[in-house]
Amino acid sequence: MRVHVVFYGRLKQDTGTKQAVLDFDAQALTVRDVVDRVVTQYPALRPLLDTVACTIGAELVSPDQAVRDGDEVGLLPPVSGG
């Protein structure tokens, strides 16, 4: 399975990139699995995880949400609009 990860806000600075493409061997995958892999690859994100929310497409999702092949998973730090 291939998952596209997009970093928003300061997470782009923390990772040094806007997005990453991750490949998984697993048959079933959750958002939590994706986040675990992202943190392995970008350890700078670990201390921020408590405040990071995740999306699939236009939906906020919980860590237990299933991820399908080709999904775009967003990692969203605390928001500061307005």
Partner: protein, 149 residues
């Protein structure tokens, strides 16, 4: 130009036309504008970034909530993204109601919710040349019940 998230300069007159309503006697508009300093540091400009698809959904939800929770007749919310100069409006909340008390309350609710829930981020650019993403409010993941298995 989307109705909720746009890179173009915001157009207040268009929002006022869009919300015209002869049964409303009160109109409250909130606007956020880019300030020239923050925490004592001179600011040169601000870059706004959004998770556009989710942000549009959230702003629409907030508009609907405003109409549901308050006795008001119109609510429009629009947020700009991209590079903004000092003084430029970043967000409009427009509320029309029969009377003023509810118009004020509803507009205040609208902007408070935007700041808490819209997936939008500010990067502040200082006249010293550096920049910083502002701290904000963590988004709440959906409750488990919303996704029954």
């Amino acid at each position: 130009m989307s109705k909720w998230i746009t890179e173009a300069p915001l157009d207040l007159n268009a929002l006022l036309q869009e919300t015209e309503d002869p049964a409303s006697g009160a109109l409250v508009i909130f606007t956020g504008t880019v300030r020239n300093e923050n925490d004592g540091r001179p600011v040169q400009g601000m870059t706004y970034e959004a998770h556009t698809a989710l942000a549009e959904k959230v702003l629409r939800q907030i508009e609907a909530e405003v109409l549901e929770r308050f006795p008001v007749r119109r609510c429009r919310i629009q947020h700009r993204i991209g590079a903004l100069q000092l003084g430029e409006p970043s967000v409009y909340v427009v509320v029309r109601a029969g009377h003023r008390a509810e118009a004020f309350q509803a507009a205040r609710y609208g902007i408070d919710e935007v700041k808490k829930r819209a997936p939008i981020w500010k990067e502040e650019h200082y006249i010293t040349g550096d920049s910083r993403y502002l701290d904000g409010t963590p988004l709440q993941p959906p409750q488990k019940e919303e996704y029954p298995e």
